[in-house]
């Protein structure tokens, strides 16, 4: 019988983030399908609030590694904590969310427990008691289902790939078994000094937005009058983001312009980049502007539902089956009108 371990980091206030609750949803479902034993394990500065929140998830055991040494996302201490939790749980299948914190360590933990790992899992299925997962290869261009005989098997579930666990919490009904992890000086060689956040007016990436708005290099090119209009482009885009609450994405060529000292949009960085060497965000809708829709960019649109594009070229990539609607028009004119309509 399999022992399914739900493994999660706790947030600063000791609670669980949405990706962790999604991973719990998948773990609970898998446990029912395999008739296994569910164990929940938490690590972070404090674990009790998270344990309270998932007290009714059906786990037979609750384990935790807690303390100030485990507050920060640091490889050495996080990997040691997860290794200890895996060993204590004696789990055969481990499900955790593919957050930046867990993605940094899980392969290393796998090595320590002589297991195997699969990341960016988008689907988990069972058939006659055997587990099959689905993930993408070649940057969302080929989808594969696979299974493994080796155990323990660690699965990192991509955020948004499964419904979150919706059960009710129960304050004080469970007390996690605390696992002691000795922290040596060599594990403190790295000190986390916090996070660097873009200024509020430049915070353009909104993972929960309903719309992804992609700006391509065309916004900085010469327009009908033979001149570039970069400041005007900035005003139109910022105005649209404010009114629509969309998340801003970019093509590779546009973000690289700033590195080459060309006229570029000031609020655009590599973090906005979508595609082969950028992000693959999940939004119900996507609107592309002044972007040709070439394959290296559109692989980043894999998880965008409805897609529309505005481009002057009727033969651009979007026209070749990559968008639902292509408007052959001037994005400066169209988006100015869109802003006016959204503001009215």
């Amino acid at each position: 019988m399999d022992t399914i371990l739900f493994l999660a980091q706790t947030e600063e206030n000791g609670t669980l983030g949405k990706p962790a609750r999604e991973a719990l949803g998948a773990a609970v479902e898998l446990n029912q399908a395999l008739s296994g034993t569910l164990v929940a394990a938490l690590y972070g500065a404090q674990a009790q609030p998270a344990a309270d929140a998932i007290a009714n998830c059906g786990a037979l055991r609750f384990l935790a590694v807690a303390g100030e040494d485990f507050a920060s996302a640091r490889y050495a201490t996080d990997a040691a904590a997860c290794e200890a939790l895996l060993r204590a749980a004696q789990a055969t299948i481990i499900i955790t969310a593919a957050t930046s914190r867990s993605s940094r360590i899980m392969a290393g933990v796998t090595h320590r427990v002589s297991g195997c790992v699969d990341t960016h899992v988008t689907g988990i299925a069972t058939d006659s008691g055997s587990l099959t997962l689905t993930r993408w290869f070649y940057r969302q261009r080929i989808e594969a289902s696979l299974s493994r005989t080796q155990r323990p098997w660690i699965l990192l579930l991509d955020p948004g790939a499964h419904a979150a666990w919706q059960g009710q919490g129960a304050s004080g009904s469970v007390t996690p078994e605390l696992i002691t992890v000795p922290v040596t000086e060599s594990m403190r060689r790295t000190t986390v000094r916090g996070t660097v956040t873009p200024p509020a007016d430049q915070q353009t990436i909104r993972p929960d937005a309903k719309l992804l708005f992609v700006a391509g290099a065309g916004w900085t090119k010469k327009q009908k009058d033979g001149q570039t209009h970069v400041p005007e482009a900035e005003t139109i885009i910022v105005d649209f983001l404010k009114k629509s609450k969309a998340s801003l994405g970019s093509s590779k060529s546009l973000v690289e312009m700033s590195g080459e000292n060309q006229s570029a949009l000031r609020f655009m960085s590599h973090l906005n980049q979508v595609g082969q060497t950028g992000a693959t965000p999940r939004h119900p809708k996507g609107l592309s502007t002044c972007c040709h829709g070439e394959e290296p960019h559109t692989v980043g649109w894999r998880f965008i539902g409805e897609r529309r594009a505005i481009n002057l070229d009727p033969n651009c990539g979007w026209a070749r089956g990559k968008a639902d609607v292509l408007y052959v028009a001037d994005a400066f004119e169209v988006m100015s009108k869109v802003n006016a309509l959204l503001g009215s």
Partner: protein
């Protein structure tokens, strides 16, 4: 700076992203149709790691740079014709599969062995660089596994900047959720850094650098040891290219006002 680094960049080759990829079933599992015929490039995120590594080595006297790459020898030779012109490097070649379907654990074992065998490397000065994910397997696990094999417990992923300090320590910026960077200070080498895009553009081709590199690259390719990767308990049940063709409605000659109205209506629809 008193502490020179030994920078090892792990980078494989991947099909040019403009190529159409079609999965087929080969004798040892899934593969790409005409894989050996597809034009290849250096893995894009790993290429950023190479440029950042070369820049770091240039800044700190006494530092060295190796590029450790596992790929079919012929493919590697083709890609090196371009890569060699970018930055000065010493190639360590491992002749093995570069397929996205090859197992990462065994790949990491072969690469760790290749790094250990580099003549003159000081593992206490090691900065192990690579892409935080490849454009083939896209898993982001190989570097971590190599790091563990080599006993390195200071690891960073999604790195966009490294800033060396006078005392040998260095500051690292890693991408985290919410379009933020986590800032960390590491006491010094050894460390693993899986790079995102960094901040450097692609260097221009320099034929002189290319000629100097090729003097060592060709012998390195000839010396490349063969490394077999087995599927060991991993079984693919289905490998397919998803249907992605949409029926695009192309809207021409519609007044700007009407297009804007249609877009606003679409945005507001639940």
């Amino acid at each position: 700076m008193t502490n020179p680094y030994h920078v090892v960049v792990c980078a494989s080759v991947v099909p040019d992203p403009l190529q159409t990829l079609e999965p087929v079933t080969g004798p040892s599992g899934p593969a790409l149709k005409n894989e050996m015929m597809l034009p290849a490039i250096l893995d894009p995120w790993a290429a950023h790691a190479l440029y950042e590594g070369a820049n770091l080595v240039k800044q700190i006297t006494g530092s060295k740079l190796w590029l450790v790459s596992m790929a079919p020898k012929a493919k590697l030779q083709q890609v090196m014709m371009t890569v060699a012109q970018k930055v000065p490097l010493q190639l360590v070649a491992v002749d093995g599969p570069s397929s996205g379907f090859a197992d990462a654990h065994q790949t990491a074992g072969a690469l760790a062995a290749a790094i250990r065998s580099i003549a003159g490397i000081d593992l206490s000065r090691l900065l192990l660089f690579g892409g935080w994910e490849s454009a083939s397997r896209s898993a982001g696990v190989t570097l971590q596994l190599i790091g563990e094999e080599l006993g390195i417990v200071d690891q960073f992923q999604g790195v966009d900047a490294i800033t060396p300090q006078e005392d040998g320590s260095f500051e690292v910026l890693e991408r985290v959720e919410g379009a933020r960077h986590q800032k960390s200070l590491c006491a010094g080498s050894p460390a693993v850094l899986g790079w995102a895009t960094g901040n450097l553009g692609e260097p221009r081709n320099d034929p002189q650098v290319g000629m100097a590199n090729m003097r060592t690259i060709m012998p390195a390719l000839q010396r490349a040891t063969a490394s077999a990767i087995s599927s060991d308990g991993l079984q693919y049940t289905n490998v397919a290219t998803p249907k992605q063709q949409r029926q695009t409605r192309i809207v021409k000659d519609l007044p700007t006002e009407d297009i804007a109205r249609e877009i606003v209506q679409w945005i507001k629809q639940e």
